[in-house]
């Protein structure tokens, strides 16, 4: 057995034969042509064919991987239509009286070289795009037909690297997985593999040699490992891992794209909770309708200093863009209590859960709050972001928050920095106080989201960090459910919506009860989205 490790770009286990990707071999020869104008026309026709193939790929990719990821094929079309590129090719044909193939190959090398010599890794990587589009024109000129010959058997595709167009063109019903020698996890191919749900490991190095073509192999996309010629024990472990994963995926197949609707037609939104940008993949994979809680704390916990506005902006923007118009609810800083950050220099407290935390920090150290709000209002330009404030206990706090928001907008405007004017604002319902004043709160904000963990802790006066109290801790306590019901009724009385983003939302024993209360949304961890959808669809 040979074990190779690389980087995983998509989780999942595949077991099957390795099949090395065979590109059509073309030998580009330089040959003299007499009729240079006819040769230019040959090139123009090949280019037009290539552009229309790319248009088809673009259309196919929109369906497979979404518009943002498909855009690469539009950029490829632009490259082929680029006048510098075309002029260079025609110039070579005319002045050197050579064949179109030679002119295209030479131009491709020159342009790829231009990118390769740039001083940033991203632009250097674009050399591959130039080569990819030029290969397509060359294939057409040489008449070798498009793409590659895939074997008819189901197999794990192995290659040095795959161009985005190659990945999209593969017959995916015959692809078990991808294993490549090179490539980065940010390459278009990696992104496409992820979006197409195909287990893939990249960067395995040159030990992945074509001599293994046809051998049995296992991709463990969870750990980024490729086993060639696996022993029985490994095979058994991997088979079990694969079956578990498949069961989850089967649920996905069965429920993906289905509505969250009860038998009698009541609908509810099912969103997902995330704690980091890297969770967005799981949100999309599990078909959540949006992000109901994006805990922004990781930005503060990961660093040794306060995250800058630019750092935050770039993260929020990325999540909003990846969610492509679906709702992304970002909760402002919620540290203190059980989440401590050294550089905040918070004092030790007798009662941290009742202490200096969350919005209380934001409203007293407003410079921290303002930085986050600036980043949020700027990022809101790039998607459907809404902002949620934790630990609210009074209307006064909402007024103070709104004052600060007005200042932030004023400053952004004065600096000429673009931001979104109207961003949806909501509050967490996690204190009994917020429940009792929920009618008034509902007049001030656009929505509520119930944080059931804290609401239970504060309602029952039970410290959730103290395991000795577990027998007294009852999240199904009628008092907690009555709190949720009261908040829901008051939200609806003011025409506002209400959801749950705490652990209780994923408690399938309560789904029916929540539907009866008329909750509008449940936000759960990504892996619970489909089991919850299943439960909702079983309810009357």
């Amino acid at each position: 057995m040979i074990t190779l490790t690389g980087k995983s770009v998509f989780g999942g286990v595949s077991i099957g034969k390795l099949s090395f990707y065979k590109r059509n071999q073309k030998v580009i020869k330089r040959s003299h042509v007499d009729d240079v104008e006819a040769e230019c026309t040959r090139f123009q026709e090949a280019k037009a064919t290539a552009v229309s193939q790319l248009q088809e790929l673009y259309n196919k990719a929109i369906e497979d991987v979404g518009e943002a990821n498909a855009m690469i094929f539009e950029i490829h079309q632009m490259m082929l239509e680029d006048l510098d590129y075309i002029e260079s090719i025609e110039n070579i044909i005319r002045t050197q009286e050579v064949n179109a193939e030679f002119a295209v190959a030479t131009t491709a090398d020159n342009f790829a070289q231009m990118f390769a010599s740039m001083d940033d890794a991203y632009m250097q990587g674009r050399a591959a795009d130039v080569k990819d589009v030029s290969e397509r024109v060359l294939d057409i000129l040489c008449g070798v037909g498009e793409g590659v010959k895939q074997t008819d058997e189901l197999s794990i595709i192995a290659a040095d690297d795959l161009a985005p167009s190659e990945t999209v063109q593969l017959d995916k019903s015959k692809v078990l997985g991808f294993a490549t020698m090179y490539g980065s996890s940010n390459s278009h191919t990696a992104i496409l593999a992820r979006t197409m749900n195909i287990p893939a490991v990249i960067g395995l190095g040159e030990s992945l040699s074509p001599q293994y073509d046809g051998q049995m192999a296992v991709i463990d996309g969870f750990t980024g490992t490729l086993y060639i010629d696996p022993d029985e024990e490994t095979l058994a472990v991997m088979q079990e891992k694969r079956e578990k994963d498949l069961a989850q995926k089967a649920l996905l197949e069965q429920l993906k794209g289905k509505e969250n609707v009860t038998k009698s037609g009541q609908k509810i939104n099912v969103y997902a909770n995330i704690g980091n940008v890297s969770d967005v993949g799981a949100v999309l994979k599990n078909d959540a309708g949006g992000i109901g809680l994006f805990r922004s704390e990781f930005l503060y916990l990961e660093n040794d200093t306060l995250p800058t506005e630019e750092q935050q902006f770039s993260v929020y923007k990325q999540v909003a863009e990846n969610m492509a118009g679906k709702k992304v609810i970002i909760r402002t800083l919620d540290i203190g209590a059980d989440k401590q950050v050294d550089y905040f220099d918070l004092d030790k407290e007798e009662n941290p859960a009742l202490g200096y935390r969350a919005i209380r920090i934001c409203l007293t150290r407003t410079e921290i709050f303002k930085t986050q709000l600036r980043a949020l209002y700027r990022a809101a330009m790039f998607g459907n972001i809404s902002i949620m404030f934790p630990m609210i206990i009074s209307i006064k706090e909402i007024h103070k928050i709104k004052e600060i928001i007005a200042e932030v907008k004023e400053e952004l405007k004065a600096e000429g920095i673009p931001y979104k004017e109207d961003v949806e604002l909501g509050v967490m319902i996690e204190t009994p106080a917020s429940v009792m004043i929920s009618r008034e709160l509902a007049k001030e904000v656009d929505y509520f989201s119930v944080g059931t963990n804290d609401l239970t802790q504060y309602t029952l006066a039970i410290d959730r960090q103290n395991s000795k109290l577990d027998e007294f801790y009852d999240p199904h306590h009628p008092a907690v459910l009555a709190m949720i019901k009261m908040a829901a009724d008051n939200a609806h009385a003011e025409g506002k919506w209400i959801g749950i983003c705490g652990e209780l939302g994923a408690d399938l024993k309560l789904t029916e009860e929540f539907l009866k209360m008329g909750l509008d949304e449940l936000s759960v961890s990504p892996s619970m989205v489909l089991p919850l959808r299943k439960r909702i669809r079983e309810c009357e």
Binding site: L83, D84, M114, M118, P418
Partner: protein
């Protein structure tokens, strides 16, 4: 000729996607549209030219438009930069 200057705020700079969007936008005008960085100018209607500048975050670019629709072009392009880059 009309022009404006702009400092790129997108952390990734003018990468493939916004470059593509910019070329699409620029191609819609009759005027000559150019983008420049440190005296080096490129035709904003050509993707290789735009990407070849390798504009990174924090760098200043200058956009120029010359032709019959230069006023509209420069106003709309400035909006484009504010929204996308």
């Amino acid at each position: 000729m009309k022009e404006f200057k702009y400092v790129i705020t997108d952390p990734e700079g003018i990468h493939a996607r916004p470059a593509g969007l910019l070329v699409k936008q620029a191609a819609g005008y009759k005027s000559d549209i150019k983008i420049g960085k440190n005296e080096k100018m490129a035709d904003a209607k050509r993707i290789f030219g735009v990407m070849g500048l390798g504009v990174k975050t924090g760098e200043e670019i200058v956009m120029t438009a010359e032709g019959e629709d230069e006023d509209t072009a420069i106003t709309e392009l400035e909006e484009f930069f504010k929204a996308n880059l």
